[in-house]
Symmetry: C2
Subunit: 449 residues, 2 copies
Amino acid sequence: MKRREFIEKAGVIGTGIGLAPKMALNSSKSVLNVGFIGCGLRGQGHISLVLQRDDCRIVSLADPDPIMMERTQKLISTKLDYIPKTYSSGERDYIKMLDREDLDLVIIATPWRWHTEMAVACLERSIYTGLEVSGGISIDECWQTVRAEQASDKHLYFLENVCFRRDVMAVLNMVRQGLFGELMHLECGYQHDLRNVKFNNGKQPYGGGVEFGENGFSEARWRTVHSVNRNGDLYPTHGIGPVAQYININKGNRFLYLTSVASKSRGLHNYILDHEKGGPDHPNAQIEFKLGDKITTMITCANGETVVLHHDTNLPRPYSLGFRVQGTRGLWMDVNKSVYVEGRSDSHRWESQAAYMEEYDHMLWRRYEDSAKGAGHGGMDYFLLNSLIEHAKINARPPFDAIDAATWKAITPLSEASVASEGSPQEFPDFSEGQWKSSKNDFAYGSEY
Amino acid sequence: MKRREFIEKAGVIGTGIGLAPKMALNSSKSVLNVGFIGCGLRGQGHISLVLQRDDCRIVSLADPDPIMMERTQKLISTKLDYIPKTYSSGERDYIKMLDREDLDLVIIATPWRWHTEMAVACLERSIYTGLEVSGGISIDECWQTVRAEQASDKHLYFLENVCFRRDVMAVLNMVRQGLFGELMHLECGYQHDLRNVKFNNGKQPYGGGVEFGENGFSEARWRTVHSVNRNGDLYPTHGIGPVAQYININKGNRFLYLTSVASKSRGLHNYILDHEKGGPDHPNAQIEFKLGDKITTMITCANGETVVLHHDTNLPRPYSLGFRVQGTRGLWMDVNKSVYVEGRSDSHRWESQAAYMEEYDHMLWRRYEDSAKGAGHGGMDYFLLNSLIEHAKINARPPFDAIDAATWKAITPLSEASVASEGSPQEFPDFSEGQWKSSKNDFAYGSEY
């Protein structure tokens, strides 16, 4: 499958739209020249994993932040006997890097507002592009990435790591083997108390103060301002990525429209008021945060499923992506870690998911469990990066491509529009331009990556 | 409070709208003459509880169904030394009963389509009315009940028993004592595999066949047809009743608008196909059920909260009303029976709800636990009926009145309209006509009922 797609993409037998057939069949590479745009904590996480591999050469790094660049160089110096080039003269020095260096793959892990510009720049320069996840800023931005990938001879891999979470992949097996029957309804989301991510003391990444923006550090420097100015589901992909695999979005199915509602906003303001470094006289206590504390979104699909999406990042709560996968024969729920399967479970009684997770454990996890140990986010980052690199080597169409990225990211501006219009339904553009009807989901069918 | 309201309702100091001041102060009764409209299984449940009390006299019964009437008479004969009059000559013989008998209280437990007509008939005849729950058929119907209660000197008590569920009442204590801070987001619903309620063999109430309508028995006789013809949240009150108490709907707050989506419909059809008494050649296999298997509704409130409402009655699953009560300081979730409270729970970790349920156990449950033993639905029906009867004795405004009934029931036709228009938002009528701003929630503040 990957081989066939590689050949198609290379233009040998392909009929793809706008594909420049400049890639030769023998361009498959065993060692990749890798560049990084964005050397913050997330970028450093990817770099750590790349450093453990012998099929990547870290050629260059771009980041205007001197602290993060220094940390990254330190991280790298312990492992490499060569020094990657650095590009840190301002926010657009990354373009110089793309023009000068011989890069096979670039990984982008930057503040959200830069994602599209950077991905487009990479694709335009015929570089396989790994793009970190985010919600979209606008629908237009989503189209830009789709168009850039169409015009390029390389692919964009949208780096949604939760698709590789062990339980999420086991449930993918359950779904594909028909355990839950025909799927009807799914839920997911991002429910993560980010208050000490959105605020810190300007020195440490998490907590210790109520600063953000210019006075904040790491994510607080850029992420928090989205909570000041925007009201909608700002971060939909960790939930919707896995759900999209379960119901084959853009691969035989597609999102039709959504509605979103937002609760009032209290959490971030209260955090500032109640923090020992904050209080009512702190300048940030004057800021009105537009983001409702709980955003809920409902999506309908061409094949008749419904999806509920939760966004909940300003309130005290345990972490939960809130998955629910429900079909004609049963359901899985994440929050109570339980499964119910008609004819197998005792009538009307939840079963612990444990036995199911073992029985349906994905072959990738069985095979690479040891390699994944210690990798970020419970090991799933290992699988993500491995998949990215193996796809990049043969310039294969990734499981989550520019069309998927656009579709998932579009939830954010559509959600904002729906909240702003008292829950009016918002139609999804068809970023696949009809190809969803014939495209096939090939995520995680193989045992290699 | 009840005393004051009683006096107001009696017109002594009241300024109520359309209240005929025909009730004298001394009309408070120690023994009530009670009539029943509807002697099906639900009516029999109420009758069983009334039979245990010495403050009620069962005067008369109305039901056109000879089987259910016979069962009821049998049930009663073991306990009473007198024989209540029966009215069973057709569907409207209940009107004769209302006109002839001297009734203080009538309890209506009939198929949904009869609820409004019967409640209006009781209120018009100055009878305190206990009305079983249902979704509304139309917005107009909701207004009819409100108008009838306004024009009557008696009240309508909407019999939402889940408001009295032990954990639901303990959480009401938690909410009122500020454990979760200011409430932001709530979830609830009716997630109950009703397939063997919607279908039976015409002889037993649950299962044993795929018959409904004229060939069905008990609820299958009348309830299932709603799944054939309607697509929306058909049964919202078990979830929304408790939620309305938590956020004081119609008592300082109100529902503004909702949006609903429906998944495709498979569960009921599959049940017929797969049942040993069914199969593809059974005539019911030809029926197209309009009701989606999973309906999801989002409601926004005047005070800025959001509510998600689940309706899920056609698929195999464990029973769950799916409560979530979330505020600025923490949340409760029903499905994992867990609580998180900032500063009390270990950071980012769920706690079992058990200790909270004990600590915040409602005084009514502490006091009447023994009396409630054996009553329907885990004991909550005892509290409901006790509250109904005590309110009826002094003609007090009930905690869930005609305005609440109309508001909660309105969810059904609004949800149908939203589903039919691809999730377009539907405004709630203000059935309180502005009174919600000054009305106070007095549910379960006392220790008596």
